[in-house]
Structures are given as C-alpha cells and as structure tokens.
Amino acid sequence: MYNFDFARPDTLQDAQAALRADDAQALGGGQTLIPTLKQRLAAPAILVSLTAIPELKGICLADDGRLCIGGATTHATVAREAAAHYPALAQLAGNIGDPAVRNRGTIGGSLANNDPSACYPAAVLASGATVITDRQEVAADDYFQGMFATALGEGEIITEVRFPVPQAANYQKFVQPASRFALVGVFVARFAHGVRVAVTGASEGGVFRWHKAEAALGDDFRAEALGDLAVEADGMIGDLHGTPEYRAHLVRVLTGRAVTAAA
C-alpha cells in the first residue's frame, strides 16, 4: 500500500473540509477500498474515514413512513434493525459479503462505489429510494449512471438513504461462486401505485430497471404474469462465470422467484 494521511473526523463538517484536500478519498467501511489500496491500485493522499460521525449512522422510520438509513450504517445494522420495517431490505443486507464484511461495510460506501455486481443498488433502485448527500437529494432513477458511475460529485458524501417501504418485496441473489457478489440479483418491490424491478450483476451498464416486467407485474403480481418476457443478452456482462445469455436468462428466473417469494 502507498502511504497516505488518515483523518477520522467526528462531524460531517470536518469530513467535508478534509475531503476538499487534493486527492482526498472518503473511506466508508473500506471492504472494497482497502483491498484495492493493498494492491496499489489507487493512491489517495488522504483517507477520510466516515466511521466516527454519529450523524451518519442509524436507522429510523420517518413520519412519512419512509425508512431512513444513515450513510455510514453497516450492513449488519441494517440486517438487524431494518428487519421489522422492511424485511426484504434487511434480508438483502444480511447476505452481502460475509459476517465480518457486514460488520464494516456501509450502505453509503456501497452506493458511492456502485459496483455493477453489488446488491444495494438493486434495493435502492427497486424501492425508488432517495439518496441524500451533503449537497443534494437524488432520486434513485437519476442516481445510478452506469457501472461505477453515479450522480455524486468529487468529495460528495452520502448522508442518508430514504426508502419508501413497499407493500411486498423480495430480493433474489444468484451468487458468483468465487466472490459471492451477485452474478445476477433481482429486487422486486410492489407499491400501491405499481411494481418496480431492479436488476444488478447482469448488465455492463450496472443496475437497471426491467420496465416490461414492471408493467406486466403491475397488472398481475404473480410470476406467471411474466409469461415469456425476457431481457436481451446484448449488453449483459460476459465473463468466466457466465455468458451474457446466461445472465439474461437468470434475470427472468430470479424475477419470477422474487415475485413468488414476495407475494
């Protein structure tokens, strides 16, 4: 690892100030960033840890019924504390990485990275959640902008994510056997006004919504309603763990399973 300065502010304001330095890099739980640094694949001048800022942590139910999760809240905390409010989200969080990773990794870190195979983006997009930063509030549909690309600017910090809680929801993850990231993951959420389906792991463009499935399920929330709908293989990730055709096929299978499990 290259050396760097380490800052561990305890207020958001101090964190913002620290991140204004040249080549500053925010550090969430570090479960992706630290292995990257160990490989010398990045060389920030200063790492600004967001783990000591109380206002970025915690879960609460807002008056409007939305579930609010602080940006520096760990997956383990979400798995535990969101279970009563939004079981599908808690279940997703409880299957990211492994127990030790879940004790460090944070929702803000995951969303800021927007790995095309990460789980959280599927939940955020399918829930129609709002990503709140120290500068703006962004609707999920505008937040994700392709693999590793988001609406975040330099040094911008995710302070909170607000999830509308659906009437029914489920996440189906088919794991890549080595990394245990999602080879394909599908999150289905049914709201009073319609159904949202978000897919992670499959596309080279990162997480995406499957609108046709949403339309079909909006009329009839049963796996059978998907009929012979399918996503195209073109644009899907192809690697040694699965061809684009296979990933496209899994999207269909997992969507059906998620609907059945949610219904």
Binding site: P177, A178, Y246, V253
Partner: protein
C-alpha cells in the same frame, strides 16, 4: 477394534492445542534480527524478450540495499527437475534451464525478473515499481495443440519444439491394443479436459534466509513439505552450498497439497541474497503472487477409448493425453502425467490391454506439477467417466458394469498390464459398502420426490485405486527419478524413558505428531504423552524425503517402526543384563520387560536409565545410550482403493448443482487413527468436489491469468459442501510394510470428481437431456444450463 491409545485409537491431536491458542509457529511468524525484505518485480506479460532493465532509480530509493537481476545469478544453476522421462523413441525429455530470475526471456505472467532487497517491505515495493524493464512481447503459447504446430512460437528458443516428451506406455502393447479395438463389440470414446487447478494451501509460501559469515553457513526457514529435498536441490544444484553449511527448517506449515514440495526461485533467491546483502532476507507471498507463482495442478486434455465385448467385459483401453507442463519443468512435473498416471490406467479392472500416450507440452503458463493425487486423479477421472459412458451406451447399470470387470479378491497379487502389481484389495466389498451407505435401492423414490419439486436428481458412482506410499527407490530410479524415495527416522530415547522421534516425514496438517506417537507408544507400551515427534529441521532429522504421495505412515511410519524395533532389541539386551536372564527370554509388554515364565521384570524407564547411567551395564558387549536410526525403502507402492457415491440435484432453471450426499467407502488397510483418517478423506473430498463444481484456473489467449484471486477462483466454502459419509471398515492390509497401512491423504481428491460428474450427467439424462453425455469440469451453473439448452 477401538482402543483408547496406540494403534487404532482416535487419539486427539496434540498439535491442536498450539494451533487453537495462536501459538503455532509458521514461517512468517519468524523474524530475525536485522531482517530485510524482498519485493519481486514479476512479468506482466506471458512471453517476451527482455530488451533492457534499468534499476538506477530503484537503487537510489530510500531503504534500498541491493537490486538483483539474472546477472547476479550467472554462476548459479537453474531450478532442477527431479525426474527425467524417456520418450517412446528412447530419447530423454527436453529440459530447459529454469533460472532463478528471468534471463533473456520471460515465459509466464508472474515470473520474477528483478528483486529488490530493502529495509522495509514497502520500500522494496516502491523501488520495484521504479524499475524500468523493456520487453518485446512475443506471441504467447497457450493452446497445447497449437503449441505442437510446426510453425508455433517456441517457449524455449534453445529447444527443438514445445514438446517436452512423447511418452508411450506400454509401447510394446500398442499394436495389440489396436487389434483388440478392431474386433471389439463396442467402443466408447470420450474427449475430456482435466481442469487446471491452483492448490491454494491457506498459508502462502514464505522464505526467510540468514547467513552466518563466521561459519560460512546458511539457514533457510521455508514453507516446505520436504526440507531435506530443498536442501539437496538448492544446495547442490542451484547455489553450490554443501549440505553441512546449509540448514533448512520447515516449521509449522499451513497446508501443502503438493504445492510446497517443489524448490522455488524465491527460496534460492533469499538464501543467496542473505549472503550478498549480509543480513537476513524475508519474502512472504501475497495471495496474488501465490496464484501466479505456486505450481498449478492437473491441466490434461484427453481422448480415452474403451473396447468392450458383448457382455461388457473390458477388452482394451487406449488414451491420448496432452499434459501441460507450463513454462518450465517443476520439480516432479514429468512424473505426474507419466508414471503417476499411466500406471494407474488399469484401475480396479481386469482390462488386459492398455496403451497410454502422453505428450507433455511447454506453454507460457505457470509450471504445472503434482497437486493432491497427482496423475492418479487424472487417470481415475478418465477411466471412471468412460466406464459410465459405456454403461449408458450399452444399457448396463454402471455399478453392474464395474462389478463385471473388477479384479477379484483371489486374484491378488495382481499384475496389471501397466507395470504395477497390486498386493491386496477387495473392490467388491467397498462397492457393496457404498451401495449400502447410500441406500441406492431407494434412489428412484428420492428422484421422484425431487422431480415433484421440479429438480433433477442424479446418482453417480466411481471406484478408484491409487498407487501411493511413494516409492521403491530402485523402481523409480529405472523410471527416471533422480532421487531415492525411502524415508528415515531416528528414535532417541532419553534417560528417564521419554522419547523423541525425528522423522524425515513432514506434517503440514496431517497430524504426524499424534499418529506417529501412537505407533511408538503401541510398540513399547508406554503412554503417548511420553513421546515427542520432531520434524522439519535438517539440523536434527536424518536425511528424509518428506511428505507427499500419501507416503508418511506407509514409508515414514515404517522407518520409525524399524528404528523402534532396533531400540527394543537393544533395550531387551540391557534388560536381560539387568535381570540376569538370557536375551531370548525377555518379553516386552505394556512398557515392562520381564523374563518369560517368571515374575522378574524391569520397567521401561529402568532400562533407559541404565542405558545412560551405565553403572550396571554390559559395556563390553554394548554401547551405552539408546538411540537408533533407520531408513526404510518400500518394496512396492501401496494400493488404497474405494468406492465413492454422490447424489446431486440439478436446478433446471439455473443449472446449479447441489450435492445432497456424498459417501466414501475406502480400503486403507490398517488404520492408526480413525479420526485423523476420516479428516484426511473429508479434505480430499472437498478438493475433489471443488474441482468438479467450482475450481478452474483460466488464462486468456494472451496468457493473462484471469483467476488471480479469490474473487474469481472459486474455493469451496462451507455452504458448498455437505456432511460426508465416510467409512474405512473394508480393510485389506498392505502385505509389504510392517504396519499393513496404505495411506489415505489423496484418496478423497482422486475418487470424488468422477463420482460428482457421473451424478450430474445421470441427473441430466434422467431429466430428459439425453444429448448430454459429458460435461467438462467445473460444472458451473452457467455450463450446466447451457448444456441443457442444446
């Protein structure tokens, strides 16, 4: 019979206490005063000519002590290969030099080119990045068939081609095999790939060397399965250090599985650099380095053909294999696809005619060598797969087809057509046992239950034999081995009766400290706690060949038995003197020497004390002291065998295979510690199932290793695997070693891959996918699903 100590007891492992409390001493836990660190600059391209190396900037960087290139090793030898194979035309194999640091050319991604020794590891790494190496990239030789083309680029310019050897076995049988095929009732042909694997012991390799200028002597701490072999190879062939000036220590070693047998460049580098820098030099492999520098395993491409008569009797077998050697010949590499593979092609069957052809090929990949099972899994896989395919083609139950061809118990010793003689075995018994364990007769009901849930259930069976207890020196010498394969032990009895056994075997997880003590305790009749097993240090153990090829108890244990028998013989003489009786009347039982038919006795410690305090002692006839060394060279391999059965469920929607149950019925001959034996089988099964379902090393066309971390190389995890049923109650003891043992370390990895693949093919065929007659490992969901779509 279950006992609470000695041979046959499931004694708890004594080494566990230190491992469970964090007190294990692995090589990386050692640090020497003044220690420096090395970082290797490794090739990022698979094949290229080194045009220039500029180290000036690196040399000027903070903390840098010295920067090394091939020029610094101009007077050193290459890393030697321990086995020379002679091809079917009588020529010896092509054997390129394997330099410590790349010399002139780089031949695989990960090959070390430059080494930087610095005060700290980060300083060494920083400096390594500042080195400029200009490389003219050459086309990478990746595909084995393409590598044989006349105009293929050559991995080694000084060799005539990329063909290391073209081996035929048994060459004289070739024509007869062809005739048998011509008149066969049925011929089954199968093309398959034995997937390339990365051994991945959890402890990465480490080398820490120091040089004592006063005594002009070296100490190397290294993660090795065989410290004496490293001392011999590195001292004699690479660095020219006489053995008495070189001590090699392999302390607690965190798993080996073959990958830590070989002599590696980093060990030689650290040893030489310690002398040149004048301070200890340490290298600890990262996992990323391990993936591209530890020897890989398997990587065979095979066509196998089986000729049968109308009753399903095997008439002849013919196989053609391309075996990947990688860029250089690793220590044992040429032996793996030849003598550890061809000699096993008879399997458990009476096939009278066999011909094996193996072409070993150089490619621009990491060297390939023995990995758990080594050659025998490759032989078993092809044989047990082609038998399964033949059974389906002929409409014979796969178990029945095997039974019709088994060597029968009364046929032992059995001379196979591929050179080896099996001493004992009872294949029918292990097959019966596994059928019983798996409740095979109710499989159809279980399958129907799965089908009702939309799942495809399959049952797969495989039988295996392995040749282990490696190996008779005179035999392997004829076959090209450049070393003997005996084992050694020194039994040192202390004055008060406690014992230290120094064994040339090496434990890196197998539990020698417990098992070996059980044997000696049993022979003398004293508590196991009185006996200490020491291994891994050339300074105090006799020249030994180490641990691989399931040889520790069969060969190392036998050496220890021999040495202990010498101790007992001498102790009896001392006891006879003390008891004023004739030696022939002395009996040893439960740690007590007594005169037959009398109540006169002296206990063990009384005799040992007399040996070292010889006040009353036959000094004129006998030296004082009680310490004996023995070397044991086996007269034959040992031949464990077993029947493995696997039941799987395939999800037709995703192609995912789930192992529902796995049963192993093994014949290991006599068993010293059943608990440890079962643990060895479990571990082997996990690696075999891993090969079948998960693991594969993948290179792209340009020689880049795409599975270079645990993000892409799928290691089996707890939730990939079932609870196993293992049984070793079928026992036909080995007839030619004193313990009647056969060895159990590799069995699980040998027998399990075909059982898993047979089960998946069975599931697919029963599920209506008749066209799927074979799938290459690993049977990933993507691959299985794609096969179902055709």
């Amino acid at each position: 019979m279950a006992r609470d100590f000695g041979i046959g007891a499931s004694s708890k492992r004594r080494e566990d206490v230190r491992f469970l409390t964090g007190k294990g001493r692995y090589t990386d836990d050692f640090n020497r005063p003044g220690q420096t660190h090395v970082a290797f600059l490794r090739s990022q391209v698979a094949h290229g000519r080194i045009l220039s190396i500029n180290t000036a900037a690196a040399e000027a960087m903070p903390g840098v002590l010295q920067v090394f290139t091939a020029a610094d090793f101009a007077d050193a030898g290459g890393l030697p290969c321990g086995w020379q194979v002679t091809d079917r035309f009588g020529n010896v194999m092509q054997e390129p030099k394997h330099p410590v640091l790349a010399d002139g050319k780089v031949r695989h991604v990960g090959e070390p080119i430059v080494a930087v020794v610095a005060e700290t590891l980060d300083q060494a790494r920083d400096a390594a990045e500042a080195i400029e190496v200009e490389i003219e990239e050459l086309p990478a030789v990746m595909d084995m068939r393409a590598a044989l083309a006349e105009d293929a680029p050559k991995v080694h310019d000084d060799l005539t081609s990329n063909l290391c050897f073209d081996w035929g076995f048994v060459e004289e049988n070739k024509a007869k095999v062809g005739e048998a095929f011509a008149r066969a009732h049925h011929v089954t042909t199968l093309d398959l790939i034995n997937n390339r694997l990365v051994p991945n012991p959890m402890e990465p390799r480490v080398a820490l060397a120091e040089y004592d200028a006063a005594g002009d002597s070296y100490t190397l701490y290294t993660t090795s399965q065989n410290p004496h072999v490293i001392r011999l190879l590195m001292g004699a062939f690479v660095l020219n250090i006489p053995e008495h000036r070189l001590r090699v220590v392999a302390p607690d070693v965190g798993g080996g599985f073959g990958a830590k047998i070989y002599h590696y460049a980093e060990e030689a580098f650290c040893t030489r650099a310690a002398q040149m820098v004048g301070r200890p030099v340490k290298w600890t492999s990262t996992r990323a380095e391990a993936f591209m520098s530890d020897a890989h395993g398997r990587d065979h491409v095979t066509r196998i053909e089986l000729a049968l008569d109308e009753n399903g009797k095997f008439l002849a077998l013919r196989t053609d294999t391309l075996a990947n050697m990688g860029a250089y010949l690793s220590t044992f590499a040429p032996a793996v696809p030849t003598w550890l593979h061809g000699t096993l092609m008879a399997g458990n069957y009476t096939t009278p005619l066999i011909y094996v052809n193996v072409k070993a090929i150089f490619t621009n990949t990491v060297p390939v060598d023995a990995y758990r099972g080594a050659g025998r899994p490759e032989a078993t896989y092809q044989l047990e797969r082609v038998i399964d395919k033949a059974a389906r083609e002929m409409g014979i139950d796969p178990i029945e087809l095997r039974r019709r061809n088994f060597i029968q118990p009364e046929q032992f010793p059995y001379q196979t057509p591929v050179a080896v003689v099996y001493d004992t075995g009872n294949y029918q018994a292990t097959m019966d046992r596994v059928v019983e364990m798996t409740d095979y007769h109710n499989f159809e009901a279980r399958r129907a239950e799965s089908a009702a849930r939309g799942k495809l259930r399959g049952f797969g069976i495989a039988h295996y034999i392995e040749a282990c207890g490696i190996a008779p020196s005179n035999l392997v010498g004829q076959l090209g081995a450049r070393a003997g394969l005996y084992e050694s032990a020194t039994v040192r009895v202390n004055a008060t009766g406690s014992i230290t056994v120094f064994t040339g075997s090496h434990s890196h997880g197998q539990g020698h400290e417990t098992t070996f003590a059980q044997v000696v305790a049993d022979m003398i009749g004293i508590p196991e706690s009185q006996i200490e097993i020491a291994h891994g240090d050339t300074a105090n153990t006799p020249m030994g060949m180490g641990t691989y090829g399931s040889r520790s108890i069969a060969v190392g244990g036998s050496a220890m038995v021999k040495a202990t028998n010498k101790i007992i013989a001498k102790a009896k003489k001392i006891a006879a003197h003390l008891l004023e009786a004739s030696e022939g009347d002395i009996e040893l039982k439960d740690g007590k020497f007594s005169v037959a038919g009398t109540d006169r006795s002296v206990d063990w410690s009384g005799v040992t004390l007399a040996a070292y305090v010889p006040h009353n002692y036959p000094l004129e006839d006998l030296e004082p002291g009680l310490e004996e060394t023995a070397f044991y060279d086996p007269s034959n391999f040992t031949y464990p065998s077993g029947a493995y059965a696997c039941e799987v469920e395939v999800d037709p929607d995703t192609g995912k295979v789930e192992i529902l149950s796995f049963a192993a019925a093994d014949d290991f001959g006599n068993v010293i510690n059943p608990m440890i034996v079962e643990g060895q089988v479990h571990g082997g099964l996990a690696q075999g199932i891993g090969q079948a379902l998960l693991e594969v090393a993948v290179y792209d066309d340009e020689g880049q290793l795409l599975t270079g971390s645990y993000m892409d190389y799928a290691m089996p995890r707890a939730d990939d695997l079932p609870m196993y049923q293992v049984d070793h109650s079928c026992q036909t003891p080995c007839t030619h070693n004193p313990l009647g043992v056969k060895g159990c370390g590799e069995a699980g990895a040998i027998g399990s891959p075909p059982a898993v693949v047979n089960a998946v093919i069975d599931a697919l065929q029963r599920g209506g996918h008749d066209h799927v007659t074979h799938l290459d490992m690993p049977l990933t969901p993507s691959r299985v699903w794609a096969a179902m779509q055709r």
